[in-house]
């Protein structure tokens, strides 16, 4: 008996030893900075001098900050691309799920933008959106349409970013949809066909229930990613676009913190963003629990 309890105690120590690095990393590089940001949001922190507690002043100022509303609006506006991208990628996945030659090649081609660096992609699209010589306007020219200078125009800069984001993310959602579709047994469709079900009915009653969890996962991860857009804006419109019309919330936080050194104010905005993402993730966890019960 004694040896067994010794062995067990040893197991305990090694267990703690093995998980020590990620736990220390979490405390030091995530939890501590996160709590410090919350504390900083109640101060007039400028990164250099003393931090004075100023209560809710930062949050009150945010409520009357036009730039905050504008960057928040822009961030949400850019999310219009999420449902469009999901519809297109579901259609692509439905197409690829048929007996068609070259499915692997298609998968690879559609996936290349996903693995490419966002910096290089942003540089490329900035050039593609060039008003005079860009690829996009040259393409439109084929149909006799004179394209605008996309990124220099308040009306077109957001649609331009949306198109690029859809293009970049299509392969990823398509891949997840395809994996979900391939898990549907063909016998369901065969049975439905024998019963004389129409294509639309089959989609609604067989395909859709199977891809619903993936859709939910993609919506949530896209919202989380979409609320943190920064790189594209920083490269393609370094000043936040015409009249700040492409500045996102993270872009604004960045500007306030590191250009204006208003770290307290920026932290307050970061806390608001963090809370938003925290809630979205929590919803996902809850819904995941529920949907896994459904399957069981």
């Amino acid at each position: 008996m004694k040896t067994k309890s010794n062995l067990y105690r040893k197991e305990k120590y090694f267990g703690y030893l093995f998980i020590l690095p990620p736990v220390v990393g979490f405390l030091l590089f995530t939890l501590y900075p996160a709590l410090y940001s919350v504390y900083g949001s109640f101060t007039d922190w400028n990164g250099l001098g003393q931090m004075n507690f100023i209560g809710l002043d930062n949050f009150k100022d945010i409520l009357t900050d036009d730039f905050f509303y504008k960057s928040m609006f822009n961030t949400l506006f850019l999310m219009i691309g999420i449902p469009i991208g999901l519809v297109i990628s579901l259609l692509l996945a439905l197409g690829l799920n048929r007996k068609i030659p070259g499915t692997t090649t298609f998968r690879v081609i559609y996936y290349v933008p996903v693995i490419s660096s966002l910096a290089a992609i942003s540089i490329l699209w900035q050039w593609a959106y060039n008003g005079d010589y860009g690829l996009v306007n040259q393409f439109l020219d084929l149909f006799g349409i004179k394209g605008p200078n996309w990124l220099a125009n308040t009306a077109t800069v957001k649609p331009a970013l949306i198109i690029m984001t859809i293009w970049k993310g299509l392969g990823y959602s398509m891949l997840l949809y395809l994996a979900a579709l391939q898990s549907v047994s063909r016998s369901y469709y065969e049975a439905a066909e024998l019963d004389g079900a129409s294509g639309f009915k089959m989609f609604r009653h067989i395909t859709w229930p199977m891809v619903k969890p993936v859709t939910f996962f993609l919506v949530v991860t896209n919202i989380i990613g979409g609320s943190q857009i920064f790189t594209e804006i920083n490269i393609m419109t370094p000043t936040g676009g015409p009249e700040f019309s492409s500045a996102t919330i993270v872009f604004y936080i960045w500007q306030k913190a590191f250009d204006n050194l208003q770290m307290g104010y920026a932290s307050a905005m970061a806390v608001i963003l963090g809370l938003f993402i925290f809630i979205i993730t929590l919803v996902q966890f809850k819904m995941n629990e529920r949907s896994s019960f459904d399957v069981d």
Binding site: E11, F29, I100, V112, Y133, I277
Partner: protein
């Protein structure tokens, strides 16, 4: 008969649509390559030439002196390799402990680590920046390397799932033989989960290679910048002179390593991404 014929026609129609889609997806990238081989007048030719009349390779020589491209590649390699190699060891050890060892509060600690996925980088970036600048780490690669060495919760999560499929009996047998816990990890666990580790390592490597926000926050001196920052600076500096061939050549070079890795490990990458999505 009618049915299969109809199906064939619709399949052909879908094939054509997918081809058009594939062209749309690949066209901007091809255009990037084509631009990189043009000279300046060619770039502004109307209508545009998809295939340059003369291929100019000189931009691919110029990029190495026009900016710190080589040091950018080296810096990115240093960061990505150090983090993924050491971080994979720490992550897989932790995954082993979480999946196979018994100790109090194991699941609570795991959930705590998992909660870090709910805290977005922008929410910690300001305090982290101040912390690292107090340590004198700004303008060094340390802020990009050190946090990753402690492991990656996503990797721990997937390896832990994977380890559940390995029977406990193997581990119990090794324990009775008197193998140490490090020995069990190195001789039994690691070889068994190697494929899962490889796929996760590749994905992590690509993520770090493509990272932009932390590097641009910390790296100021040209010789310390990672590749993504170097090409972003190419874009900022040479677009004014409309030297697009130069910018595109540098961008193509920055994309090539990842493209090659992707084409080689295409099956494993796509599989492990698909699994991660289905399991949520």
């Amino acid at each position: 008969m009618v049915h299969t014929k109809q199906q064939k026609i619709s399949n052909a129609f879908i094939f054509v649509l997918l081809c058009i889609g594939a062209i749309v997806m690949i066209a901007p990238l091809l255009w990037m390559v084509s631009t990189s081989f043009k000279d300046r007048q060619d770039v502004f030719a109307l209508p545009p030439n998809w295939i340059p009349a003369v291929f100019h390779f000189n931009k691919y020589q110029e990029i190495w002196t026009a900016g710190p491209l080589l040091s950018g590649i080296i810096n990115s390699l240093i960061v990505a390799l150090t983090v993924t190699i050491i971080g994979t060891i720490t992550s897989s050890l932790a995954a082993f402990a979480f999946a196979k060892l018994r100790f109090p509060y194991k699941n609570q600690i795991f959930l705590l680590l998992l909660s870090s996925m709910m805290i977005p980088y922008p929410a910690v970036m300001i305090s982290q920046f101040i912390m690292f600048s107090e340590w004198g780490w700004v303008d060094t690669l340390l802020p990009l390397i050190v946090p990753g060495l402690f492991g990656n919760i996503i990797m721990i999560f997937f390896l832990r799932q994977y380890l559940y499929s390995i029977p406990n009996a193997i581990i119990e047998a090794a324990k009775i033989d008197g193998t140490s816990y490090f020995g069990i990890y190195a001789r039994i666990i690691f070889p068994l989960i190697k494929p899962a580790i490889a796929a996760q390592l590749i994905l992590w490597f690509m993520g770090i290679w493509n990272d932009y926000l932390p590097p641009i926050l910390y790296l100021n001196s040209p010789e310390i910048q990672t590749l993504q920052i170097v090409i972003a600076n190419f874009n900022a500096n040479y677009a004014i002179q409309s030297d697009y061939p130069l910018i595109m050549a540098a961008s193509v070079v920055s994309l090539l390593p990842i493209l090659i890795i992707f084409l080689i490990f295409q099956r494993q990458i796509i599989e492990s991404v698909a699994i991660s999505g289905v399991k949520g």
